[in-house]
């Protein structure tokens, strides 16, 4: 454990970036499955249930789940350590500061991170811990058949407008976090190139808009159309 803390600043940043890449790939998979909550295909409910079944029973996914939790824990732990070190590096603050031209969201990574973390805790309580039988399934208009019935759990949660609005706001904050994170992870790994970096930055902006937008579509559907 103490060795983890004594890695050099650069090594900590590689670890942050690698964990970040893993989490960003996870988000794509997560969104891909979630979108089947929406009536995008005739048998979308069956497809969604099948995907949930695969994700909760496949042994390879189970192994990946360990990596996923590790990625979350490492990313959060190192994020906090790096931030504390950064605050300690400037004990006396400037009277007037922040006039330099910088990437805007990079200044608020720890703040957006805290909000995303709160969201993560709520999210795990609502779904993952229900699946594990630790917390109770969210109640609402739909009957939750068993602790793997994520479709009806989602309906119950999103039929509450307050929850849906909160969900949308938190996902937007996640988008802010991703906006800086995407290109930052490439830079931390040393992957900066005059030919490809502008493309990576563009791709990061697109990613940070498209992924949150995809997640937001689901509560929007429940607020306005369901």
């Amino acid at each position: 454990m103490s060795k983890l803390l004594h890695y050099s600043s650069l090594t900590k940043k590689y670890i942050m970036a690698i964990a970040g890449f893993f989490l960003m790939i996870f988000l794509v998979v997560h969104l891909g499955i979630n979108l089947f909550i929406l009536p995008i295909a005739e048998n979308h409910i069956e497809i969604f249930r099948e995907a949930v079944h695969f994700m909760t029973s496949n042994p390879l996914v189970k192994v990946m789940e360990i990596f996923l939790f590790a990625a979350f824990i490492i990313h959060i732990l190192y994020g906090v350590i790096l931030q504390l070190q950064n605050w300690m590096a400037r004990p006396t603050r400037y009277k007037i500061e922040g006039w330099s031209h910088t990437s805007y969201f990079s200044k608020f990574m720890i703040h957006t991170a805290v909000i995303v973390f709160i969201f993560l805790v709520i999210h795990i309580m609502n779904f993952y811990l229900v699946k594990e039988g630790i917390t109770k399934a969210p109640q609402g208009p739909a009957m939750v058949a068993d602790n793997h019935d994520f479709y009806n759990m989602a309906i119950n949660l999103f039929s509450n407008t307050t929850y849906s609005v909160l969900y949308i706001l938190l996902i937007i904050v996640l988008g802010f976090h991703l906006n800086h994170a995407f290109q930052s992870a490439f830079q931390s790994m040393g992957w900066n190139h005059s030919r490809y970096t502008p493309f990576i930055k563009l791709l990061g902006t697109i990613y940070s808009i498209v992924i949150p937008l995809g997640f937001i579509l689901i509560p929007l559907y429940f607020i306005f159309l369901y």
Binding site: S9, L10, K13, N86, K95, W99, S188
Partner: protein, 252 residues
């Protein structure tokens, strides 16, 4: 031109320090920022007060000694130049100018606006050099160097070690400085020989000295008086990674 100056005054490294306000009138728009401070100091001496201590040397933008944080920006509002190269025409007549020293744990204040930047020297001492004599100008032609590499090394070597990157960074990180010093050697054949050891030692010294970590905010690049690119930071990240995974466990 007339100005109201709010200047950080601190008697010694252990004193508390605070801002003092000064009024200055009839300043030429063509006066440099440091000349303006000279005029202020003359005024203070005439009044029997202690003049403001600030670092300055060449006054032509090559030594990296001047180090003032003006209105929330290192080296003031203009970009790509040092404080000494900036003229008072960059400010509005009658405006208030706040002048602070560089703020970083690794750069403690000595007096007023002067900070101790020996931390940079210590990083250089950890490996920012080539150990053997690489010859003179004539010998340079005996080793062919691609133009691209020579230009990249020259761009990195433009770093004057002023510390504006540390001052601008919200984390007081020295990554732009260290990466420039790593890059200027890493891309040249003479520097490649010691590249792996150099990057490891310099980064480890940088960490020890209490600089912050890089969060890729790029304020350093925006404020660097020599316009050094953050692509050097990426190069250092690559160099460090390669060094870590390929260096032998025990150095001879």
């Amino acid at each position: 031109m007339n100005f109201t100056l709010k200047i950080w005054r601190q008697e010694n490294p252990n004193a508390k320090g605070g801002f003092e306000t000064y009024q200055l009138s009839d300043i030429s728009a063509d006066a440099s920022f440091l000349e303006m401070l000279d005029i202020l100091n003359e005024q203070l001496v005439m009044e029997g007060k202690v003049p403001v201590a600030f670092d300055h040397d060449c006054r032509e933008g090559i030594c990296g000694t001047c180090s003032l944080y003006i209105n929330g920006r290192p080296h003031g509002p203009d970009s790509g130049i040092t404080v000494c190269q900036m003229h008072m025409r960059n400010f509005k007549d009658g405006s208030t100018i706040t002048i602070e020293p560089w703020r970083a744990r690794a750069f403690p204040v000595i007096k007023d606006l002067m900070v101790d930047r020996q931390a940079f020297e210590k990083i250089i001492m950890a490996g920012g050099y080539i150990s053997v004599n690489t010859g003179n100008a004539i010998d340079a032609n005996s080793i062919p160097i691609p133009k691209q590499a020579a230009e990249t090394a020259m761009d990195a070597a433009a770093c004057i070690g002023c510390g504006a990157c540390v001052a601008a960074c919200k984390n007081a990180s020295a990554m732009l400085f260290v990466s420039a010093k790593v890059s200027q050697f890493a891309v040249l054949p003479q520097g490649k020989i010691e590249a792996k050891r150099r990057v490891k030692n310099m980064v480890s010294r940088m960490d020890e000295l209490g600089f912050g970590n890089c969060t890729n905010t790029y304020a350093c690049e925006a404020e660097c008086p020599k316009n050094i690119s953050v692509s050097h930071i990426a190069r250092m990240n690559r160099e460090f990674f390669i060094s870590k995974v390929t260096s032998p466990k025990k150095e001879v």
